[in-house]
């Protein structure tokens, strides 16, 4: 009870999430596609610059981020940039319906258990992590506004250029 009282007055609770500069926790999740049992790992993308995006069908800003991330991937893919989206919907059908309305060509995996978002310490939805070629997190991007695409592009280019 006392803890809760204090919790109500909570000032920034210490971020339990992974921060820039830390290694990205490993990830091995099934792809979200009709009937495919294939498992996708973050390790398989070693050597590429990856934007790891945690999303859900109920997350409004994701409708803005998806087309922009798709665009970035088409443009910067040849230079070694990839997007990996992790869906956290409780109901898979909701995620599939979202993808029908906002289709993308980058890999989308699913974690309905909450383990992966927990290991990354997601502070809010959506959250994206920009991971460099050696698997280190360079940027934690929370939320998504319309103009974020441009800023993100600049960051990705910088990390690609290293």
């Amino acid at each position: 009870m006392l803890l809760c009282l204090l919790g109500l007055l909570a000032l920034p609770a210490g971020a339990a999430g992974v921060q820039a500069g830390q290694a990205a926790p490993p990830l091995s999740l099934p792809l979200l596609s009709a009937g495919s049992p294939a498992v996708f790992t973050l390790a398989s993308l070693q050597g590429k610059v990856v934007y790891l995006d945690f999303w859900a069908s109920w997350c409004g800003p994701c409708r803005v981020s998806f087309p922009q991330l798709e665009q970035l991937r088409r443009e910067l893919g040849p230079r070694g940039f990839e997007v990996l989206a992790v869906n956290v919907d409780e109901v898979e059908a909701d995620a599939l319906r979202f993808l029908q309305e906002v289709p993308v060509t980058y890999p989308v995996v699913r974690d309905a258990t909450g383990e992966t978002p927990r290991s990354y310490g997601i502070p809010g939805m959506p959250t994206g992590f920009l991971i460099d070629r050696s698997g280190v997190i360079r940027l934690v991007h929370q939320g998504y506004r319309k103009s974020d695409g441009a800023a993100l592009r600049a960051s990705i280019m910088e990390v690609l250029g290293e």
Binding site: W58, C59, G60, P61, E101, G143, R145, S147
Partner: protein, 386 residues
């Protein structure tokens, strides 16, 4: 419809003028603007029952009828702003109670204003809202105009989330300046021209209880000052000040099996005119598949009479009123809302019945012969620009 957005929890309703509850639009998410432009329209018809023949001088009389149209536009602007415009037109006509008198057989009876009043009211409200990473702030202006009344109001409100996103705190203040110039002709009026000011403040907190439930608490204070009497009522002289308090609480819980949610809201109201009231709103939101919702709702309301209320008003007293709206009564209303989505469109319809009776309330007092019952229907069409 899969995504109504919500990475952080909805903020509480904040305080705005009576017709516009814009903070509700931001209530879906406290810290990011809507993604798409939304348009909404509603047409409503409101019809009061005729008065009871046994309680009206001259026998049963027709009462009030209103045709109303609402228009709503919500649009994101740039990265962090949203603008909302709401317009409301109302066409009102009918007779209303003029005063209550003692009839020969002993009981009080209402005398209706003979001629039918016809009036049109237009209200325009504009709100701009700024969103930052943990909350938002809004500014609202409302202008309302009709033959005998004009109102201008402004409001400021804000909301912010706790660090863990589990709690949202909100507050608002607003003030309005109203001018009254009663229409001459059908009944003698209590004033030729006057005004009143209303100010209020609100604070509230909304908290996530579990993955499926949320709760909120709120406290509002309102101060009215100026000409508060009803200009069209013969036996009406009210104080020139009124202090009001309202405590409210609400609860929402989703149930996975029936795919429905329970909505409950309660308000306790108290003022220095002696009026106190309880309001309980219940609704069950039943989903039928992905695109259709059926929402039966029920409301219970009970108010106690104002200190200076009396059916047969004592005009020697400093304040008096025989207006049924200040009498003691209970009101039960309920109905059904239906909503169906087709692509980016949404169709809706509402039917509601409202009835009052002195014995249904928890407070006791004189029963006004002019208690009102009504039917209300609304039809709506919305579009979202995905």
């Amino acid at each position: 419809m899969a995504s109504r957005p919500g990475d952080k929890h909805p903020a509480l309703l904040a305080l705005t003028s009576s017709a516009l509850l814009l903070p509700a639009y931001q209530g879906v998410r406290a810290d990011a603007p809507p993604e798409f432009i939304e348009l909404g329209t509603r047409y409503s018809k409101y019809e009061e029952d005729n008065t009871q023949g046994s309680k009206t001088f001259g026998g049963s009389s027709q009462r009030y009828e209103v045709d109303a149209a609402q228009f709503h536009l919500l649009a994101p602007v740039l990265d962090s702003w949203a603008v909302a415009v709401d317009v409301q037109w109302e066409d009102m006509s009918g007779a209303s109670p003029w005063f209550v008198g003692q009839s020969l057989d002993g009981g009080p009876k209402v005398i209706m204003s003979g001629a039918s009043i016809e009036d049109t009211r237009t209200e325009v409200s504009v709100t701009t809202r700024y969103y930052y990473d943990r909350g938002n702030a809004g500014f609202n202006y409302v202008h309302s105009d009709e033959d005998d009344y004009e109102s201008n109001a402004v409001a400021l409100d804000g909301a912010f989330n706790s660090a863990d996103g589990m709690t949202t705190y909100s507050a608002a203040i607003s003030t309005s300046a109203d001018d009254i110039e009663p229409t001459q002709g059908s009944v003698p009026t209590n004033t030729l021209k006057d005004n009143k000011d209303i100010s209020s403040a609100w604070i509230g907190v909304s908290r996530i209880v579990s993955k499926n439930a949320i709760v909120r608490f709120g406290l509002a204070y309102t101060y009215r000052d100026g000409f508060l009497t009803d200009p069209y009522k013969k036996n009406d002289r009210r104080p020139s000040e009124r202090n009001e308090w309202a405590f409210s609480t609400g609860y929402r819980q989703y149930f996975f099996w029936p795919d429905g949610a329970l909505q409950a809201d309660y308000r306790y109201f108290d003022d220095d005119w002696g009026v106190a009231s309880h309001t309980l709103d219940l609704a069950w939101h039943q989903n039928l598949g992905e695109r259709t919702q059926l929402i039966p709702f029920l409301r219970y309301y009970s108010q106690g009479e104002a200190d200076f209320f009396a059916n047969i008003a004592d005009t020697d007293k400093r304040h008096y009123s025989d207006d049924y709206r200040l009498s003691s009564f209970g009101a039960v209303s309920g109905g059904l809302r239906v909503r169906h989505e087709i692509g980016n469109w949404a169709l809706s319809a509402v039917g509601e019945r409202y009835e009052t009776d002195e014995s249904w309330g928890v407070y006791s007092g004189q029963e006004s012969p002019a208690l009102v019952n009504y039917w209300r229907y609304s039809f709506g069409l919305d579009y979202i620009f995905r």
